[in-house]
């Protein structure tokens, strides 16, 4: 194998290695504050662009306690819920998909007990084949508890 061929091959390998799965959108290090009690609910909204069939989302409870954090995603007459059953570890809750096409999706975060909670959300819009589609990033919460 010539040097040119080796270099070409090496460059190809590095290029392929740099192409990983499309990065999910994240909402990181947010909180449900104790002042809002058990009814504390954060609300985020994001929009899926043309070609989208659904939004995929999951939540990570960053607090290692028995106060569980749940994420409800709603759009129109469609909705789904996921809960992180083990807080404080790096693992996200099971992923959920809400099939409302290119639309605005509302993400509601709540918890099971009074007390502060920290959480992060990963979400992205996908087409029917699972490919990522245009996904907006909320600049601020619609409701911040």
């Amino acid at each position: 194998m010539t040097l040119k061929t080796k270099l070409t091959l090496l460059l190809t390998v590095f290029t392929l290695g740099a192409v990983g799965p499309a990065a999910a959108h994240s909402i990181n290090n947010k909180t449900l504050r104790p002042a809002f009690g058990a009814s504390a609910t954060d609300i985020w909204q994001a929009t899926c662009g043309a070609g989208s069939s659904h939004m995929f989302a999951q939540i990570r409870d960053q607090s290692a306690d028995n106060n569980l954090v749940s994420l409800v995603v709603v759009s129109g007459v469609r909705g789904a819920t996921t809960t992180d059953l083990t807080g404080g570890d790096p693992t996200y809750s099971p992923g959920i998909s809400v099939n409302a096409g290119n639309a605005t999706y509302t993400m509601l975060v709540n918890h099971t007990r009074t007390g502060g909670q920290a959480y992060s959300i990963e979400y992205h819009c996908e087409n029917a084949s699972g490919g990522h589609t245009e996904t907006t990033t909320p600049t601020a919460e619609s409701q911040n508890n």
Binding site: T31, R33, F36, A118, A140, Q143
Partner: protein, 292 residues
Amino acid sequence: MFISGLGHFNFSHSSLTCFSIGQGKVWLIFFLCVLIYSASALANGQTNQQAPVRLMRTGAVNADWQLQVNDAPLFLALQEIQRVSGLRIHYSVLPEQAVSATCVSDELTQVLKCLLGASVNLVFSGSGAASDPTSIGEVWVLGSSLNTQRSAVDCKPPGLSDTVATETGQGGTIDRLLLEVNADDTRQRADALFDLAKQTEADSEEVDALLLKGLHDPSAMVRGQALSGWAERHGDGALPELQQAMLDSDSSVRLQAVELTDNPLMLKNALQDADALVRQLAEAKLQALSPR
């Protein structure tokens, strides 16, 4: 002789008896018969006129209790059930419109459900067979399951003036929020401040003044929302207020300050906070900010 206007006349009995005596007294006796018949017919007519509510116990299989309601208010029907069966019925509110129903069952409880609707909530006290009203004792009709009408006055939110402007577009929204920031209800004040901070058409100086006032509200919920609104409007310029909030006595406000800032120095100071969640969040944010 032709007789009119008297309704049904039984010629087979009364008339033959009346006309068998001598002619001179025929008319007198005839008219006496007519009077007797009329009195009898009037009494029968009153009996035959249908009562609006009637409950009967017939002893028939699967139809022991028979309730007939003809365009009568519910309370009359319940009164009749109580009168005939001895069952005590408690209720607070009933629909005002008249009802008509025919309910037949071996069990009085089923008659009640037939009358009031299958979805109504009933609570019975007593023991023994449901068909025996004396064993049931009493029944409560839960009002919330029966009466769907609510007074608009009862739903008025506390602390809100009657002069709240009708919400028509941005102007109406801002007017409403400007009123709600002074509401007695803590949640209402907090939400109003948060929403007001997002209103681009609102008077900037007025909103800022309200947010600054909210930073010193007695409620930690309100202070947190005011801080959030202030940070959203002023970005990096909100650092002094965020630093001040890190000295708040309530961990909710300090938590909000940590959430709102990416200032490494503030986050490092927060690692020494008395509250575990504040420390945890500060550490997580510092990790997210550190170069990889």
